[in-house]
Subunit: 483 residues, 2 copies
């Protein structure tokens, strides 16, 4: 019971926090345990319910507890063995190479569309809480309002109202001024990467990528006949600049393609300071940065950092965004921000796909302008956070103790380092035969480097079936580790 005589509510809510903290420290409250209900804690501590709520929300902000909608607050589970270093397999002698592993990639994609599969292999955060109803409403309004125009061609660089909304978000959420005329709408983030890459590089050029990195970047580099070189990447703060510097000195790198926020699969974000240093380093070498920033809106705390774009002033950075990970994957709407390259980008966009879907652009502009997009994100983030927690709990429970995992602070994927010797490709095959799709580590680097790594997704509504699938994966991993 807290001291009843204290009338200062700030002081009281701090006391609730201390009380929970002490209980966690002493082990009375264990990771995954449910906190007392607001009412019970109010009675127990002799403070008002709003004061308890304030304390719990602050504990959530401090990432000590996590709320689950319609259920309550739970002590956060952290990964038992967090990944802290770049993969031990990383060879400092990485050379520019053509991409290998296309056939594995195909098997992964075929697996995703197998009927009734458990979709742990796809990074599709929106499915955890689809915005279909709100988007459908917006689209129906557009159909009525724009009628014939809504099925006709959009301008090459995109519908002006959507470009204005995107520019407004840069200003509103990260304080960065972007001219709508410097935005080109694309067919999702993937086409944005294609156009950005073809803008600054051509066949045979060397492109630096994180290791591990998003397989879609690697496939794209391969499709354009370019070479990839890996840069050491730390699960705690992203691309290692010292390693990048060595790479730039030793190889004719034409461009870097890096995720600055919530990289895929590591889930790591660069600090703003590091972004600034990165841009300075690349500007010094005259190397372009293609900034893949499609997950920026999905940090669990909603505090989006400034994109690297904000630290460039000469068009060195081409930033790629998308609504595929946040709202409507099937709309295929993404964008590039790129000042000085805009003319070339317009010509590439026109020749690669004419323009992007107008109805979807008009719908998203409406969805953003109405505030529905922000409301949707505010609903989506806590569900993803809750799923991340459940995933961590499940992995701890079912995988061998020597498994190490990333600690996601956003997005929808976790990156696992399985015990040495476990063949993740074998695990992938066996799991798919069981109706469970996963993403084996080898698709995340140009050479087959991540034999015993696995990416799992928590971007779907949590279910017993998912829980059972993780259990199955953990047990199979143990078998493979012994075999």
């Amino acid at each position: 019971m807290l001291q009843e005589s204290t009338s200062n509510s700030t002081f009281l809510y701090r006391q609730v926090i201390d009380l929970i903290d002490d209980n966690i420290d002493s082990g009375a409250l264990k990771p995954g345990d449910r906190l007392p209900s607001l009412r019970r804690m109010s009675k127990h501590a002799g403070v008002s319910i709003p004061t308890v709520r304030k304390a719990y929300v602050e504990l959530e902000r401090l990432r000590k507890v996590v709320s689950r909608p319609q259920s309550g607050f739970y002590v956060r589970r952290l990964a038992a063995n967090p990944l802290v270093k770049p993969s031990p397999r990383f060879r400092a002698s990485a050379r520019p190479v053509p991409i290998s592993g296309q056939s594995l990639m195909e098997r992964v994609y075929d697996g995703l569309y197998q009927p009734d599969v458990v979709p742990l292999g796809i990074a599709n955060p929106t499915m955890a809480r689809p915005a279909a109803k709100a988007l459908h409403r917006a689209m129906k309004r557009i159909m009525t309002r724009a009628e014939d125009r809504s099925i006709s061609y959009a301008p090459t660089r995109g519908e002006a109202s959507l470009r204005r909304q995107i520019a407004y978000r840069y200003l509103d959420s990260v304080g960065v001024t972007v001219e709508p005329d410097n935005i080109c709408i694309t067919n999702g983030g993937q086409e944005a990467l294609l156009i950005a890459l073809q803008t600054v590089a051509s066949e045979g050029d060397v492109i630096a990528v994180e290791s591990p990195t998003y397989h879609g970047q690697l496939e794209l580099i391969d499709s354009l006949g370019m070479l990839a070189i890996e840069v050491e990447t730390c699960p705690e703060d992203g691309v290692m600049l010292a390693s990048l510097q060595k790479t730039l000195a030793a190889h004719p790198v034409k461009a870097c393609m890096f995720s600055t926020t919530l990289s895929n699969p590591l889930g790591v974000s660069m600090t703003e300071e590091k972004r600034s240093e990165l841009v300075e380093l690349l500007t010094g070498h005259g190397v372009a940065l293609i900034e893949d920033d499609v997950y920026g809106d999905l940090l669990f705390d909603g505090r989006r950092p400034k994109p690297a774009l904000a630290y460039a002033n000469n068009g060195q950075v081409l930033t790629v965004g998308s609504f595929s990970k946040t709202a409507a994957p099937g709309y295929r709407i993404g964008w590039i921000v790129a000042g000085k390259h805009m003319r070339r980008i317009g010509a590439l966009k026109r020749s690669f796909s004419c323009s992007s879907g107008l109805l979807q652009q008009l719908t998203l502009a409406e969805f953003l302008a109405s505030g529905d997009y922000d409301r949707h994100l505010n609903g989506l983030r806590p569900i993803l956070q809750c799923n991340a927690d459940r995933m961590a709990t499940s992995i701890c429970r079912h995988f061998p103790a020597s498994t190490r995992t990333s600690c996601p602070v956003g997005g929808s994927v976790v990156w696992l380092e399985l015990p040495t010797g476990v063949n993740a490709e074998k695990l992938f095959d066996d799991a798919l035969a069981e109706g469970i799709s996963t993403a084996p580590g080898n698709i995340f680097a140009p050479c087959h480097r991540y034999h015993n790594f696995l990416r799992l997704s928590f971007g779907h509504p949590w279910s017993d079936r998912i829980e059972q699938s993780i259990k199955w994966l953990g047990h199979r991993t143990a078998q493979l580790s012994e075999g």
Copy 2:
């Protein structure tokens, strides 16, 4: 008055045809004149109204008259000076060249999106009779039926139901068997051309194109760092095979990119015999054919020829189709048919844009399956045909007598050869200043070859404003021709 005693209605309707024919031959009925109404002709000829209608419809099929909705039947106007030969400027010594003229292309596109412009510069046939209402209805049904799934990712190669519908159309309309698994859905025909080109060629390779040809092909070749070589093309029967043979013997051509039906801007279709010969020739040289077949459904008589694809049996031909010219440009849905290349095509599609919009794919599958697509085409073709006629009449009336024009048998564009010395780029600039968009000849060839050529579109609802714009263009052409 026809012989009343004849009871054979076939004979009677033939007599009505002969009567009209005689009147046209004698000059009593001039091009553009309205035929007597069904009732008047029925009285005059002493036959029933259905018999007269049957005769008029047959005359339309014979391309002697043209019907205008809510107005009646008119004697068809043919171009006064039809184009019959390849451009006299064609140099037999055409060499592979990089594409020039990007900035002119940009001005053309900027012009298209100028507010309230008269859109004679864009090839957008659907605007003559938009299918928005039927498409919106289909999409709303999909929203209800597929709900959350409708905003999610489509499979890389496309939604199965749409691929089945497309395969069915090949079988039904031209008797060609195509496996749905050999169809890959793309972001419009333009991305299909991109993927097809990147499948069979790479940077620095030589691609043979028609002359003149669709500017989107040229921009694409440029964007991929390839070279274009022009092949002589005849306004009467398309690519000249003898000329192509010489080109293949003299240059390391990697692929040909030809429109087999209703080429843009000439509007010419190859005979089926020629398609077969073309495929044989290219197979002999081991050269791939990228067949641009996006206008096939828009022949005024509705009689689509077999694509060149039908004459290949070893994957030599990659055929590109689209719904952009026939139903919904803003949906950005096209496709490639290509058997042996399908694995590479799947990888390119995934790396270039992941997949295409699912909601649009589901909607089009529904639109096709319901029969709405065919009903829409049956309504669109006669309007385009009527517009083509009005355009021809207008050009005859207002342009200098030495102007030569193509005789469109489908699609939505007419190709004009202006009097020698008229600078079409100047005409384009002057017209745009008047709020009229046009497409100057120079964007239709890799080198600036078509200085005095112009493409005009009749793919919008006919209006006084369009009529006045053509008048203005004709007078300005006359001035430029004198200056």
